[in-house]
Amino acid sequence: MSTELLGVLVTYLLTLALAIPLGKYIARVYQGQKTLLDFLAPLERGLYRVSGIDPNREMNWKQHLLALLTINLVWFVLAFVILLTQGSLPLNPDGNPSMSPDLAFNTAISFLVNCNLQHYSGESGLTYFSQLTVITFLQFVSAATGMAAVVVLFNAFKEKSSEKLGNFFRYLVLSCTRILLPICLVIAAILAFNGTPTSFDGKADIVTLQGDSVQVSRGPAAGMIAIKHLGTNGGGWLGVNSAHPLENPNYLTNMTELVAQVLIPIAMVIAFGVYIRRKKLAWTIFGVMTVGMLLLLVPMLLSETGGSPTLAQLNLLQPTGAMEGKEVRFGPAISAYWSTVTTIISTGSVNAMHDSTMPLSGAMQLLGMFINCFYGGCGVGILNYFIFLIIAVFISGLMVGRTPEFLGKKVEAREMKIATIIALLHPLLILAGTALACFTLTNYPEADWAVKPSAWLNNPGFHGFSEMLYEFTSSAANNGSGFEGLGDNNVFWNVSTGFVLLLGRFLPIIGPVAIAGLLARKRYVPESAGTLRTDTATFGFMTLAVILIIAALAFFPALVLGPLAEYFTIY
């Protein structure tokens, strides 16, 4: 095995080795059991006291959602105001300007919803103040929001569930203080000691070896890069994200950032099993997710390490694979792995430019975001998976002629309606958005925006279509990566993706939490010989089939028009 492939394997195994104990720890944290970090309890009590919150007052599912939406609204207002005024606020050594209203709208929403789509470049678009109070802050709390929401689901399926499903603010605070912050400090230290900047100094002026004067952007980036991965956020400090040699200086930091982004999504599945005492169910879910990941990873690895057919035409050597848009210190293999996990997990950070990857890789990146639940984002991955699981329960129940039930609770029409709406929302947002963009491009090519539609696309033809499809997919999946050639900083993209981001975040949280809340209230039907078991390989296969059929049926035509058509033109 080459050292490049070995790097991929070791990185994944290391992630698993850390995620399993972390999952058990997470379950203990939310259950309020003893942990090593109990010395933080006074800090948490202080937070509750200042906010006037009683962390022991339990909420039903509606109160949970109301609290979640209210605090998210506060965060949005805060972020929007700071971005609009950052030019006149402190900690702006590079003298960067305030954002335009449409860009501030897009950016505030994008970080609020854990997406981190970026229509600006960090070097010139933000100040250190907004990087810390908007970007870093939202990266923490949006991840914690997803985690708090999934704990509601955990509570709903505990053995003796009731309407009372814990306290939202307590889960939010614990996610920050017990899980995200401590791990981020470790990651940030690793990054800092490998060359990622942490100080508040502005750009450095240097004269290079051959005598050119250049400036080097930097800033207190290490802490932000830690949470951008651990919280599956993905927005970079600098323009090119983790391809930048200061954000990701070497192979060790690359492994660290890769482990960090996959860690909590896997740990959450483990935590689910421990929390509701159904470890076998958790391992079945983990198995389906892992098979799904491999189905996307293998084609991506083959197409990236196989090299570019265009460059092969020029008779160039491609010993390691396709190098356009990639960094020498990483190479194509680990970049393909990064590309896979960042799209299935809704991180959206990149260590290589997706716009320059091979067509088959582009198709896999899109599929990862269409499905959006192979491991999935921080907390929300399980929520997305849960929707497919409910649909699979219902369909299998009908197939074998039994009442559909999940963990002793009957799944009925109301729950199915919610699940179906949420499952269909995702393709609707993506396909309608892309259609609108194509329509605008064709009919109003000269519209007077910051970037005219005729100048949107960096690549013509099928690949250009993929650029637009990718942007809406990334928004709806709250992913945040992009085919960055797209000229997206103008009112059309800022506003349209802004709304897609909001709908693509909050409805897929509201839906599963509502289903869980409704199921929790129902009478428990003891499992019997007639129960359809959901923790078997057969049922796992059934869920995978449901996921693939829904994703393939809805998106196949769009995939054909974009990456697949491109594939057949150049191979």
């Binding site: 050292t3 490049e4 070995l6 070791v10 937070l47 200042v50 906010s51 109301l66 209210t70 605090i71 506060v74 470049s121 070097e123 010139s124 870093t136 709390v141 603010f169 939010l172 605070v173 920050c176 203080t177 400090l185 800092a192 060359g195 942490t198 100080s199 450095a204 240097i206 070896l209 051959q210 050119d212 250049v214 952007s217 930097r218 802490g223 932000m224 391809a243 040699p245 200086p249 070497n250 192979y251 057919p309 265009t310 460059l311 008779n315 010993p319 390691t320 190098m323 356009e324 848009g325 960094e327 020498v328 290589a352 716009d355 320059s356 960096n458 690549n459 099928f462 993929s466 050639g485």
Partner: protein, 187 residues
């Protein structure tokens, strides 16, 4: 709604202090202990800073090893890749130009010896590395431009090949700035 709103505003303020104040301050404190003191690791010659250890820079003279093409011309106040897709008709021309330049400056080298990373843009536009293969290919030109024996330059490249991480993970590479600094130091 109202009860949650007031609690939410208060909680936002205390979390801001913790996550946007205390946390970055702690990280900055950790960074102070790191090489470079948190401002990024720099490389100096005779007490003068000539670059950042990890940030690539442009080398255009024949007497220096040259790095990869950059979409931002190695100006690190920004960063970008080319974002060109493989099916873009302009792409062939984009790659053809650096190939022609390279062949003109390196007589004796043929196109089928050129590794693709030498003529394709990196993701960041600031890639500080070359593959060993891409560095060895430039030895003859550099040696001639500096009037040095080829074996000496070849040996210098060999010394600067960095092994994979822990000897087994990831690719081998050569840091172009370090190599060129060493080259300047050769008497």
């Amino acid at each position: 709604m109202k009860t949650y709103l007031i609690a939410s505003i208060k909680m936002t303020l205390v979390l801001l202090v913790l996550l946007s104040g205390v946390y970055p301050a702690l990280v900055a404190g950790i960074g102070k202990l790191s090489p470079g003191g948190g401002g990024g690791e720099t490389v100096s010659r005779n007490g003068k800073v000539v670059g950042f250890a990890n940030v690539g820079q442009a080398f255009t003279q024949d007497g220096y090893f040259q790095g990869r093409p950059s979409a931002v011309d190695y100006n690190a106040a920004g960063s970008a890749g080319s974002n060109k897709g493989p099916s873009n008709p302009d792409y062939l021309a984009t790659v053809q130009a650096p190939i022609d330049t390279f062949l003109a400056h390196n007589p004796g080298v043929t196109r089928d010896q050129i590794p693709a990373e030498l003529v394709t843009a990196s993701g960041s536009g600031l890639d500080p590395h070359l593959s060993p293969q891409a560095a060895y290919l430039q030895v003859a030109r550099v040696a001639q431009a500096r009037n040095l024996p080829e074996q000496k330059v070849q040996a210098l490249v060999q010394q600067h090949v960095e092994a994979p991480f822990l000897g087994i993970l990831g690719p081998e590479k050569v840091n172009v700035l370090q190599l060129n600094l060493a080259l300047d130091a050769v008497k």
